[in-house]
């Protein structure tokens, strides 16, 4: 009888341990998925944020020579017909 009871406790313990093991396995699968998901998102963003778009307005308007080279020849302003102090 004593042996039977010991065997029963052993079986129940194994059952419980087995149940616990199964649960922790499931959890770890979810964690891996979460980690994998959370790592995938930044992987697509980082390259974009490291290379901001070039603002060509600034490129040209801070370059004196480029502004001189691209300046349009100013049309000759016709002599004003105004007379006297404005």
């Amino acid at each position: 009888m004593k042996k039977y009871i010991t065997l029963l406790i052993l079986c129940v313990s194994m059952l419980l341990l087995g149940a616990c093991t199964a649960k922790s396995t499931t959890t770890s699968v979810i964690d891996e998925t979460e980690v994998a998901t959370s790592q995938a998102t930044p992987a697509t963003i980082i390259p974009v944020s490291l290379e901001p778009p070039v603002d060509n307005c600034v490129v040209c308007h801070t370059d004196k020579q480029m502004l001189i080279d691209t300046a349009e020849v100013e049309e000759e302003v016709p002599e004003t017909e105004s007379e006297g102090v404005g």
């Binding site: 778009p53 070039v54 603002d55 060509n56 307005c57 600034v58 490129v59 040209c60 308007h61 801070t62 004196k64 502004l67 001189i68 691209t70 300046a71 349009e72 100013e74 016709p78 004003t80 017909e81 105004s82 007379e83 006297g84 102090v85 404005g86």
Partner: protein
Amino acid sequence: MAPLEPWEKVIIGEDFFTDVHGQTSCVACHAGDSSTLEKDAAHDGMIAAPDADPQRTCGNCHNEIVATSADSLHVSQAGYFQVLYSRSLPENHVALDEMFADNCQSCHTTCGDCHIAQPDSVGGGLLDGHTYVKTPPMTRTCTACHGSRVGNEYMGKNEGIPGDVHFRQGRMSCVACHDAASMHDSEGNNHRYEGEQSPTCESCHDQVGKATDPIVQHQIHQDTLSCQVCHSVTYTSCDSCHVAVSETTGNPFFKTAATYMTFLIGQNPRQTEDRPYDYVPVRHIPVDPDNFEFYGENLQSNFNLLPSWAYATPHNIQRITPQNESCNACHGNAEIFLTADKVKPEELEANLGVIVEKVPALIPE
């Protein structure tokens, strides 16, 4: 100042990028296409002066200023309409509006005309590499527009006439008196000589006219004479500015008949509680009944409702002037008063309220 080279007008300085205004993209205000270096493509759809719609740009942060400045005289130009319409009739307002759009509207001021770039009247161009200039530089902004009278008077550019003491000795720029609040808000007034005086001399000279004032003449004359009657000197008057549009170029132009120096004291044509003086300096303004004949006949049919010798506040203040050297430099001296003989016969009726009929009597020595 010499005109700026084309590249100087549009080059952006390094400081702009440390300015809070330099933290947004160019296209946020100017539109256009920043992805290309090809000039025409980059400028396609570009808005050169985004402050033409100030609520969309400046107003995002400076909403209160933009809201009040919309009605300020620099923006609305209401003072011009007040006098134009007063001398006219409603049926002529359309023609006058056309005249105004052709010849006068370019004096309209935007935020950027004072804080970012020189006004078009002096060729435009960024003031300081697109950095926002909180205090507008006097000669590149204020007197770039207000040059021919105020600027010349203030800086002593009229031959033989000294500049204003506040400039010569005080090195004060326009904004020392005309502060930002008064530039950004006309407080509902439709003319610069309407409403409370701003600025006033007494704002600084706060002892004038008080019991502690050692100059007795201030107490005697304080509500009778404007400060400029005793403290301004010879200033500019003009005759007959006629405007039209050129048949050859399509550009508007003007012809002013004469410009000359005067110092004349008249009766105050704008006497109110805020300007109680009996006498003020008066300046001949460039009006005549046919100023706008290019745009229609008899557009100023009520010409005589307003004087052609107008209330003036010359900007060439001196402590000692010819008229304040002694009592009788003014009293009994008909030369410095606008008497009827100094007014053109055709303008007598318009100036009845300004002409001095009886010059103050000589004071016995």
